[in-house]
Amino acid sequence: MSLHYLRKSLISTLSLTVLLMILSFSVVQAEEGGKHSEKHEHKKGSEPASAFNKGSEYQNDPAHIAAGKRLYMENNCVGCHFRGGGGIGPPFLDDDWHHGGKIEQIFNSIHNGLPGGMPAWKGRLQEEQIWQLAAYVKAFETDAPMPDGPTQPVERSPGGLDAEPNKSRKAKY
């Protein structure tokens, strides 16, 4: 399994270099947007001693973020957290991190799992891959545009009971 992922990671690193320009623009935004969430990040969780300062190698690094995105899709993270909005798992788009929002804390949550249903990925993914995932997850928050309030429902679908199939009513029994 790890070989499979390694191979895929290599391919992704090569093929996704095109995206680097776009992503580096996002990183600039991330650095600007990071300030307002600083106080939230320090409120909860603890850093793994082994990971001290390691996060800076990954956070905001476009290649690692791109690799993390691929891992995020391949390992079904998307099925719980979707594209940052959450579902079974919590959202990542805002700065409210239940178990700490520093990249080292995010690494920890992925590595060790969490009691509320987050699986532990140590042993299933390499540490390098978990750092890349953490970098991608962190990027949701920092990349997110912050509108003033909730957005409106997506525009409705066209069609209707009289517009398309099944419009004919059947006779009574």
Partner: protein, 602 residues
């Protein structure tokens, strides 16, 4: 032989009249549930569906069209759990029982004392990790009372029987394994001495099953899988599906590529009905997995269909696949209402199923023959059912292909109607269907099976359907095969409905309104705003002082309400399997809750 010949000629007659079927039969009586499955009302409510026929209809009529405007709160009870409250309150022997969403606490309230104080409570200490395998909020659809026991399921895969008087545990049986993605959210049904329980986890690539436990000791008596070899599915010699498409050896293997049946879903998290005369249970199987249908070419038996089984040994009698090779997450687990009605001059024992794919099926419950299938909601994924072959007429252009966005698929993955059950009134002959008007854009992508993680392979964004309203209560004339009236709601209808002999229909909305309508006209006669959106199942009972009460749990959540109960981010329309796209405004309309409301006349 005689039977199948008459079936054959019936089918030939139908072909002759093409798709628009006409029945020249004379109408003599409104459809009625069989008395054995819907006995005379005792003023209690011992199972979520009210009775084995699943009518969710009460004979109580103290509260009626003329006085319902005076209906007021008698008491409330705060469960302290602010997740989606889908359970039906259960009322037996002047005690009211409720099961909460995870952590599945049970509360028993004493109805003989003012304010219905707590009689006992029970905490099953459900594993917190089970929340990670609950696809669509950590819901529970309620418990059931049976001969001194209160029986319910837990999210971490257990069935537990409590002493109904004391709350002490009598037995607990571990059925599901959360590490493989299994959970249990459905309400059990007790038939004779069998507790019937099915698993959840169709979004995790589990293998679906229905099990029977001995009501006295919790021992597993039989377990019928919904994929795999006939032996596992409990298909034997007396299995006789009506249509050729459902016949053949080991279809639970051969209609899947390679070993895909082992992770193929087909869970049983919905409703079960029982006909005591035929001694058959009826229930549906959920969607196949993964959602990306290109990863599982074939009909994917025995997913998205209805089984009739012998409750004693679980052996299958017939099966009908509503949505073969489902490509849109159209689970087949909705409620099944048992009715007897005259069709073409002949008294037929039928089951009625408002299906997720948008069609209301009337099926002969003796044989599994589809008598009719009419659209009760807007759908563009199928053009009805071929009554000769039984096969859904699928619209190919709405079948997703990997990497391509297919837009405006109606209904959405949650269906024209999800789990929330309809009610049938024999007084009006109408089925009151609470449902949705939601469509979606869908892009399939390849997904890997990893045990205990979601097995989906689709990016979905839901949106309001034609007209813009997202919820509908449809009053459906079962005999006349048409909607008589409907009420449109802003948000999807995710609550059950209740029909009463007082000529009323009760249901709740996701922004917290609990409503009473005139059962004949749909006119709004009374409404009350609760403290959270309502997705629960309203019930009615008679209290010790002889008064009729209406009870419902308020507490928004479930798949449609996950944006509020899970505090999801509306900026990602794909969140919660795409439902967030259609619900970005729900946070403005309601907040999380978990309160029982009980109403009566002053």
């Amino acid at each position: 032989m005689y039977l199948s010949l008459s079936k054959f000629s019936f089918v030939i007659a139908l072909i002759g009249i093409s798709f628009a079927v006409v029945y020249p039969g004379n109408i003599q009586a409104d459809p009625n549930p069989p008395l054995s499955a819907a006995p005379k009302d005792d003023g209690q409510w011992s199972m979520p569906a009210k009775n084995y026929a699943s009518t969710r209809y009460t004979d109580l009529q103290q509260i009626n069209r003329n006085n319902v405007a005076d209906l007021d709160v008698t008491f409330t009870f705060d469960t302290g759990i602010k997740k989606g409250q889908e359970a039906a309150p259960i009322i037996v022997n002047d005690t009211l029982y409720i099961v909460t969403p995870y952590p599945n606490k049970v509360f028993a309230l004493d109805l003989t004392r003012p304010g219905a104080p707590l009689k006992w409570k029970y905490d099953p200490e459900t594993l917190p990790a089970s929340q990670g395998v609950a696809c669509c909020d950590v819901v529970n659809r309620g418990g059931v009372y049976w001969e001194g026991k209160f029986i319910f399921n837990t999210l971490d895969g257990r069935t537990i029987a409590l002493n109904a008087n004391s709350g002490e545990e009598i037995w607990a049986t571990q059925l599901g394994d959360i590490h493989s993605g299994e959970s249990i959210t459905m309400a059990p049904l007790v038939v004779k001495d069998h507790v019937l329980v099915g698993n959840s986890g169709g979004e995790f690539g589990v293998r679906g099953w229905l099990a029977a436990l001995n009501v006295n000791d919790g021992e597993v008596e039989w377990k019928a899988f919904h994929t795999g070899p006939d032996e596992d599915v409990l298909i034997g010699e007396d299995f006789e599906p009506f249509y050729a498409m459902d016949r053949g050896k080991d279809l639970g293997v051969s209609t899947w590529p390679n070993d895909a049946w082992k992770t193929g879903g087909g869970t049983a998290w919905g409703w079960i009905s029982y006909d005591p005369d035929l001694d058959l249970i009826y229930y549906g199987t959920a969607n196949p997995g993964p959602w990306n249908a290109e990863q599982r070419p074939g009909d994917n038996k025995w997913t998205a269909g209805i089984f009739a089984r012998d409750p004693d040994d679980g052996s299958a009698k017939w099966f009908y696949q509503l949505t073969p090779h489902d490509a849109h997450d159209y689970d087949g687990v909705n409620e099944i209402i048992l009715l007897d009605m005259k069709i073409d001059g002949e008294e037929r024992k039928v089951l009625v199923r408002p299906e997720r794919n948008g069609f209301l099926y009337v099926i002969d419950r003796v044989t599994g023959e589809v008598i009719s299938a009419d659209a009760y909601s807007y759908t563009n994924t199928a053009n009805g059912v071929n009554l000769e072959t039984g096969r859904l007429r699928v619209v190919e252009s709405k079948i997703p292909t990997t990497g391509e966005e297919i837009s405006d698929i109606c209904p959405a993955a949650s269906g024209a109607k999800d789990w929330n059950p309809s009610a049938y009134s024999p007084k009006t002959g109408l089925l009151y269907i609470p449902h949705q008007n939601v469509c979606m854009d869908w892009t399939s992508h390849e997904t890997n099976y990893i045990a205990g993680t979601p097995y989906i392979g689709a990016k979905v964004i839901m949106k309001p359907g034609p007209g813009g309203h997202r919820g509908v209560l449809t009053a459906w004339d079962v005999l006349g095969r048409e909607a008589v009236w409907e009420v449109q709601e802003e948000f999807p209808l995710w609550s059950g409905s209740l029909a009463t002999a007082g000529g009323l229909i009760f249901y709740g909305t996701m922004d917290g309104w609990f409503k009473a309508l005139d059962a004949s006209t749909g006119e709004l006669l009374w409404s009350f705003k609760t403290n959270s959106g309502i997705i629960g199942q309203p019930v009615s009972y008679q209290s010790p002082d002889g008064k009729q009460h209406i009870a419902v749990l308020a507490g928004v959540g479930g798949w449609a309400g996950a944006i509020v109960s899970g505090d999801l981010d509306p900026r990602d329309p794909t969140a919660a399997l795409g439902y967030v796209g259609a619900m970005t405004d729900l946070k403005k309309a309601t907040k999380p809750g978990g309160t029982l409301y009980v109403f009566a006349l002053p």
